[in-house]
Symmetry: D2
Subunit: 494 residues, 4 copies
Amino acid sequence: MTISTTDKTPFDDDKLHEECGVFSVYDHDDAAALAALGLHALQHRGQEATGIVACDENGQFLAHRALGLVSEAFGAQYVIDRLKGRTAIGHNRYATTGETMVRNIQPLYADLSFGGFALAHNGNLTNAHALRQKLVNDGAIFQSTTDTEVVIHLMAVSRKKTVAEKMVDALKQVEGAYSFVAAATGLVIGVRDPHGIRPLVLGRLGDAHILSSESCALDIIGAQFVRDIEPGEMVVINEKGVLSQRPFGGAPSSRFCIFEYIYFARPDSMMEGRSVYGTRREIGAELAREAPCESADLVVPVPDSGVPAAIGYAQESGIPFELGIIRSHYVGRTFIEPTDKIRHLGVKMKHNANRAFIDGKKIVLVDDSIVRGTTSKKIVEMLRAAGAKEVHMRISSPPTAHSCFYGIDTPSTEELLANRMDAKKIGKFIGVDSIAYLSADGLYRATGHAQRDNQSPQYCDACFTGDYPVRLADHEARATGAKVSSLSERLSKS
Amino acid sequence: MTISTTDKTPFDDDKLHEECGVFSVYDHDDAAALAALGLHALQHRGQEATGIVACDENGQFLAHRALGLVSEAFGAQYVIDRLKGRTAIGHNRYATTGETMVRNIQPLYADLSFGGFALAHNGNLTNAHALRQKLVNDGAIFQSTTDTEVVIHLMAVSRKKTVAEKMVDALKQVEGAYSFVAAATGLVIGVRDPHGIRPLVLGRLGDAHILSSESCALDIIGAQFVRDIEPGEMVVINEKGVLSQRPFGGAPSSRFCIFEYIYFARPDSMMEGRSVYGTRREIGAELAREAPCESADLVVPVPDSGVPAAIGYAQESGIPFELGIIRSHYVGRTFIEPTDKIRHLGVKMKHNANRAFIDGKKIVLVDDSIVRGTTSKKIVEMLRAAGAKEVHMRISSPPTAHSCFYGIDTPSTEELLANRMDAKKIGKFIGVDSIAYLSADGLYRATGHAQRDNQSPQYCDACFTGDYPVRLADHEARATGAKVSSLSERLSKS
Amino acid sequence: MTISTTDKTPFDDDKLHEECGVFSVYDHDDAAALAALGLHALQHRGQEATGIVACDENGQFLAHRALGLVSEAFGAQYVIDRLKGRTAIGHNRYATTGETMVRNIQPLYADLSFGGFALAHNGNLTNAHALRQKLVNDGAIFQSTTDTEVVIHLMAVSRKKTVAEKMVDALKQVEGAYSFVAAATGLVIGVRDPHGIRPLVLGRLGDAHILSSESCALDIIGAQFVRDIEPGEMVVINEKGVLSQRPFGGAPSSRFCIFEYIYFARPDSMMEGRSVYGTRREIGAELAREAPCESADLVVPVPDSGVPAAIGYAQESGIPFELGIIRSHYVGRTFIEPTDKIRHLGVKMKHNANRAFIDGKKIVLVDDSIVRGTTSKKIVEMLRAAGAKEVHMRISSPPTAHSCFYGIDTPSTEELLANRMDAKKIGKFIGVDSIAYLSADGLYRATGHAQRDNQSPQYCDACFTGDYPVRLADHEARATGAKVSSLSERLSKS
Amino acid sequence: MTISTTDKTPFDDDKLHEECGVFSVYDHDDAAALAALGLHALQHRGQEATGIVACDENGQFLAHRALGLVSEAFGAQYVIDRLKGRTAIGHNRYATTGETMVRNIQPLYADLSFGGFALAHNGNLTNAHALRQKLVNDGAIFQSTTDTEVVIHLMAVSRKKTVAEKMVDALKQVEGAYSFVAAATGLVIGVRDPHGIRPLVLGRLGDAHILSSESCALDIIGAQFVRDIEPGEMVVINEKGVLSQRPFGGAPSSRFCIFEYIYFARPDSMMEGRSVYGTRREIGAELAREAPCESADLVVPVPDSGVPAAIGYAQESGIPFELGIIRSHYVGRTFIEPTDKIRHLGVKMKHNANRAFIDGKKIVLVDDSIVRGTTSKKIVEMLRAAGAKEVHMRISSPPTAHSCFYGIDTPSTEELLANRMDAKKIGKFIGVDSIAYLSADGLYRATGHAQRDNQSPQYCDACFTGDYPVRLADHEARATGAKVSSLSERLSKS
C-alpha cells in the first residue's frame, strides 16, 4: 500500500476500500498458479494491480506484476509458466491514485546480501516517512513510494544474521498495521502486527503450506484452513515445517479490524473463528432489535454489501426481504460517462430500482455504512422516483466519523459525513423518513461480546470511535509541518 | 447472431445464453452516448462484442464495433465523440464461437441505392441458409456469416420504393424469430416477428424516441417506458413521429419466449406487462406449492440466477432464505486455469459454499434450469463437502429437453441432460436427495394464466415442449443433406 | 488502391509514391511465408498496409491483413502458420488517407457462387465510380471504398462459366492501369492491362510458380526470373502449368510507366529487360551530357533516390562523386515533431549536410524529380548553410507537370511546381545557381530508344507530357459535376 | 550499458555494435523535445531502448523510458508534453539480451539525500562487479543490472557535500570507459573518462547548452558545435554557465576509440576535429595504396557501412565505384523467418546483388571489418551466384582479434574470426580470390598521424592490438573464479 492516500477511487467513491490482499504458497509444484487462484479469490481486497514473485530451489526469483485484475494479469498460460519454483507470494493492490506506478506494485523484490527477498504487505505503516528520510540520508536508494519498502531497507542494513532475524530487526522499528508475507530462498515468512489489525490465516494443501489474507482463498484451491496467525506472531515456513515465533513478546493484545466483519471481507470467509456472513446476519438482527420499523412493508438491501444484514433484519423483524434494487453485474472501471448532460445518470449505471416492487411501499433500506453520503442520497432519490411511500434507512454499523490509518482507503476526516453531522441531519441530507445506525455495543454483541470493553476494546474500531490503537507518527508530523508530505509529493512524480 | 451455433461459451458452459440485445435512439444530441448506456444496461444479453452505428442529418454514418464489453468498447470519450448524429442504433452480441470475426459484429451496415442502412438483430432466422445460397447465385457478395445480412441483401435487390417497403419486402421472405432495429437517413425502424418471440419496447426521453430489448435500459437513461412493440408490428420513427404498421396483417398470435421470464431478462425489466423479478418470485412460490420440502432447514439459491425464485420459495414455504453459496464478483472471461492438476478447482472460481451455514443442514437448493448438469453436480458436491445433511434440488422451470432455434445459444438436443434422462435419473446424476421441476402449468400460472393452452399456447416454450411455433427450414435441410452446413463452414474460416 | 486520392503522405510529402505491390505463390508448402518475404522485398511499393490470403486444396481461404510494414504484420510465427495452403497472394498498400480503413486492405476476398475468390491490384481503374454506381443500383453491396472491388462485383454478376471467363468479362468493362493477381480454388491468375502500364513478372521456384510486381522479390526467395507478363496478357496458373491468354486480342501496345525506371522500382530489379540501376546510371550520364557543369567540384546526390543517377553523372563528367548529404536510416512514420517552435527542424530529421565536404565547394546536386519543391528548397538551404559556394541542380527526369491517374499518388496538377513555373523560375524558387531537367528524348535514349516516338510513345510518360494512354472517365465526370465525388465522400466516412 | 554482454544481436549478429548514445539539454523551453530529436540523430548508437528524464525548476523529475526506437518511444505528443522542465538528459541503448528489462533502460534515476539525480552512460565500467558486491554487503539495494548504477550508489553513500563532489568521489572509485551526462536540480554534468575513450561534445543553441555523443545530433536541432569535452574533463553546467574541472588531474592521455572512425559514428559527425566521412574516405584511399587490385572492373561496397571507404578506394585507384549490392531500407527488428526450409534466405532480407552489374565482372568488395565472417561469406556467395568472375575483399581496418570491454558489444575473443585465423585462411573461409586488411599504420595515417606510436598509442585500438588502456578488473576476476558472474546471472533473472 502507498504512503499517500487519496479520496478518489474508480469503482465507487462513496465506499471505504480495503487496500490489499496477500497470499503465499510454500512447496508446491504449481505454486504460482495456486497463488494466482488465491489472489483471484481475494480480488475484492484490491483491484488495481496484482503481482506474484516465485522462487525456485536455486534461489532464482521471477516476478510478474501488472495493473488490472488477477484474471487479466495472469490470464495467459505463459505468464504463469514462466514463474517457476515451488514457492510463490502474491499481492492484490487497491487503486489509490489515478496514475499508478508499476514500481509500486507488490510483491516488492530486492537483492540483499543473502540473496533475493520478496515482500507483500496488507496494512499501513504509520512511521514510514520518518524512517525513510533517515535511511535516504544514510545512502539508501528507494525504488518505490510505498511504505513497505522501508522494511526492506531496514533489513538491508541490519547486522543480524538470518533472514528472519533481519526481518524482526526491521519490524521492531516500524509502527502501524501489517500482515506481511515474505519469501527468501528456501523459506516463507508470515507475520501480523502486535495488535493483529489485519487478518492472516494459515492453510494446508497436501504437503504445501499456504498463507492468505482470508480463508475463502483456501477454499478456492481446495486447501484446508489450519488457523489464524495470531497477533504479534511470526511464522517461518521452511523444510522443517511451520515454526512459530513471538518476536514482540508478551501476550497478544488483539485489536482486529471490526470493519472486516461489517464490509471488507468476503462473506464466505471465517475470521478469528467467526463466519463473516453469519456475523453480518447477526448484525442485521441486532439492528432490527435496536431500530425496529414495524410499519414497513419490505426490507430492501443496497446490493451487494447490504444483503446479509438485510436478511438478518428481515428474519428478526418478520418483514419480507425483497430485492427492491438491482445491481448491474457489469460495473467496471473504464466506462466514462460521455457528457455533462448525462452525468447525473451515473448512479443508475450500478443500481436500478425494481419499480414494480417499490411503488407505494414503505421500505426499510439496509446498508453497511455511509461515507460521504452521495450514493445513499441518490439511491433514496431513485426509490422515491420509483414510488416508495416511505424510506427508513438502517445502517449496520456506527457512524463512520474518523479516517483509517491502518490500510483502509478513507477520505479525510473532514469529508466523512458523520464527522460533520449527527444522525438526524444525515437522515435529512439523504432524504429518508427515518435513519438509525447500529450502536457500538450492538456491533460488539453481534460479534459475540457482551459489549464494547471501553478500557481495552476487543477490536480496532477507530473509524467509529477515533480510538487509534497504534501511534500515528507521520500523520502527527505532517500536522505540524510540511516537510514530510513534500517528500512524498516529489517522489510520486518521478 | 450467427448461423452456426456452438456449445462452447466462455462464461459458463452449463447455462443457456441470450444471444443479443438491441437499442436505438432517434433525435437526441447524445444519441451515441445514450445508446452506449442502453447497451450497458443490456450487457447480460450479450458480452462478446458490441457496436453502435450513428447517423447524422446529412446521411453520414459512423460506426464503432469491438469485441468485449460495452464499457471496454465505448470506455474512451473520443470513441463516443466520433459517433456524431442524432440517430444511433446499437447491438450486444453473445459469444458463440471461440474466434469471433469482427465483420460479424452488429449493427451491420451497407451502402444501398438509397443511401446508408444499418441493422441490428435479436433472434435467429430459420431459413437464412437457403436464402443466402440463392442470393449468392444471383451475384450477391456477403460480408459476414450472420443470418442477419440476408435481410440487407433482400432489401438491396428489392424493387420497392421506400426503405420501409423494401424492409417489409425482405421480411416477408424470412422466417424465424426477430426483433430488429434499423436506421436509414432520417428514420429508425423497429419490428418484431409475427409471433413476437423476442422482446422490444418503446420509450421516450423528452422529444427522443427509444427502442430497446428491455425496459431496464430505459431506466438507465431516465427514459419513460411507453409500451411493448406488438408481435408483427413495425414502427417507423421519423420527423412525423412513431408510425405503426402491421405488415404481416391479421391479429397477432403472441408466442413470447417464456424463458425471458425464467432466466434471460434482467429482474428489473417489465416484459409484456409483467415484472420479471415479480414473476420469478411467483415462480418460486408456485414451486414451493408444487414441490414442498417441509423438513428442510434452509432455502439456498444458486446465485445469482436462482435468487428471486428462492426468495419466493422461502416466503411461500416459511423456510429461511440464506446465501449458502457465495458467487465471486470477478468471474470474467480471460482467466485460464493453469494446469490439469488444478483444473477440477474450476467451479470454485465462481461459487463457494458458506460452510458455517451449510454444515449439518437440510437444504432446498433452487436454480432456474439444468442444461448439461455439470455445474449442478459440482455445486451439490461442494455443498456435501461443506457438510450439508440433505440437498433437495428445486428447478424453477420444466425440464429443458429441446434446442432453441430462435436466438438462444443452446447445446444440441442430444447434449441436454433432460433429453437423455427423466427427473429421477437427473437427481441421481447430480447427487441430490430429491429433485423437482416446476410443471408447465405451474409456470403458466406464475405468468398469470390459468394453465398452458395446449391448443394455442400463450408463449414459445419449445425448449420445454418441442412445440416450435415457426418452421425450421435450414435445420430440416441440414438434417437431410450436408450442402448447407458445408457452406457455413467454409464461410466461417476465411 | 483507393478511389479517393490525397496529397498527404506520412513519409515524405514531396515525393511521388507508388501505390501498391502484388505477389503470388502457386503450389508451395510455404506459400504464405514466401508471400510475406516477397512482399517484404516489395515494401518500397507500399508501406501503409499489407495482407496475404492463402488457399488450401479444399478451397478454404484464410486471410491476414494489417496496417503497417510487412515485418510488423507478419512478424509473428503464428500469423504465418495460420495461413495454411499451397497458394497465397499478397499485397502492399501505400498510405493515401490519414485514417485508413482495414476493410480497404487488399487482397480483397469474396464468396462467389463458385467459391472463394481473392484479388490484389497494383494500378488504378479510371471508370470505377461509374461502374460502382450502376452496380449499387442493381443491388450490389460494396464492402470497401477501393476501385478494385468493382471487378469482384462484375465477376459476381457475370453469366460466364469459369473463373477466368468471369474475370475477363469483368476486365472488359473496366478502364485504367492494372496488374492483378487473383486466387480461386486450384488456380492463380495474373493479368496486366492492355498497355502494360504497371509491371508484373513471372518466376519459378522449383515446381512453384511466382508472380511479382518486381524481379527483386524473386531474388529474395531464391526464385528464378522467367519473364515479364506482357501487356494485355492473362496467365492462368493451375495444375496444368502456366496457360497464357490474350483476352483483349491484337498485338500489345506497350505503354509501360517510365517513372518505374526513374524512381519507383528497386534498383536491383530488372524491368522489361532492363536493369533499373543501370538505367538510372545511364540517365545520369545522359544528364551530364545534356547539362554539364564543368566548374563544379563535386557531384552530390540527394540520398537515396538520387544516388544511381549521380554516380552516372560523376562517371560521365569526371567530377568526383561524394556523399555530401547523409540520410538517416531511422526515418519512420510515427515521429511527431513536438512544437511549432522546432517544426522548421523537420528536414534534418531525414537529411544532414556533410559540412566538412560541402564548405567552399561548387556542387552538382542530383535528384530524380521535383514535385512541390519544398524539400528541394530546404536541402539547398541546408547546403548553403554548410558553406556551399555554388549549387547546380540536375534533375534526372523531365518536369513533373501532370497528375498520374494510373496508380501513383500525386498531388493535383495545380500543386505540381512544374505546372506553375518554368525551369528558370523553379531554380529561383529553390534557390540554386543553375537548374536543368533531363529532356524527354534524353530519357528515352537512356532507356534504349533513339528518341520519344511522339506518334506512338514507347512508354506512359503522362506525368511529364500529359499524354494519357487511357481515358479518364471518372475524372472527366468529376470535372463536370459533383455527383460522383460526393458518393466517394460518403463512402469514405462510414 | 549492461554488466553482462552477449553475442546475439537482433539486427545483425556479424557486426560490432556501439552500445549507447547520450544527450543533454540545459535551459531550453523544449528541453525534452530537443532531447528526443538529438537521440533520434544518435539512433545508430543504440536501437533497443531509449529514455529521457526531464527536470523542472522545482526539482521535479519526470521520466519516460521504453523499448524500441526513439520515434516509437517519443512519437506521441503527450509523451513529450508530460516531460516538463528546462533540463533534460537522454540515452539510447543497444540490444544486448533478448529479454531486456525495462528497469535497465537509462537514464537511471534515484532520489538521493540532496534530491533527484539522473544519469546516462556511454561506455563500460570494468570494475563494476566488485564495487557492486561491496555496496550490497553494506546494505545497498540495486534496481538494475547495469554497471552504471554503481556510480549512483557510490554517490549515495559519499560524505562529500555537493552533487559534483559526490560524483567525483564516485568516479575516482570506478575504472573503465565512460562518457556520462547527469542531471540534478539546477545543473547538468558531463564527464569523459581520463582516456576519453568514448566521445562527448558540447554545443550551444541560443542560451541553451547541449551535450551529445556526436556532433550530428547538434545539427539536427540547429545547435552550434562548440568543442569536444576533453579526456578526463568534467563540465558542470548551471546558471553560471559551463564550468570545466579536471577531477583526475594532470595532462590528458587521450586514447579515443579508433573504431568510431571506422564504423560506429555517423559519417556526418566531426570527432576530435576530424570529419568521420572524410576519414573513412581517406582510409579507403590508404587501403587502395596498400592493397591495390589493378585488374578489377568495379569497386563495390557492402552497403551501407562500406560505402565511404569504397568511394575513397575508387577515387584513389581509378576503378569505377558501383552499387553492386542493394540494401533494403526495411530491415527491421521483428521479422521472423518462418520455417527452417527458408531460413537460408536470411541474408537476402538485407542485401541483394545487382546482377546486371556483377555478372562477368572482377570486383573489389569493400567492407569495414569482419567479425565472425558469416555475413561476409554469404555476401561473397551471393556475388558468385550473380556471376562475379573474381571477388577481392578489402577491409578498411586491421583484423578484429580482441574483444572490447569499453562499451562495444563484441563476441568473446574466441568467436572472432581473426583470433582463429590469419588473413589468408580468412580469405579462404569466406571464399574470395584475395583479401587484404588495412595495416595499423595505414589506419593511423588516415587519421592524421605518421604512424601508430607503439609506446604511447594515440587511440584505443585494443580490438586490433589487444593493448587495453584500462585495467579489466571484473574480467580478470571472472577468469579466476565463478563468483562474480553467478551474481550477474541471478540478477538478470528476477
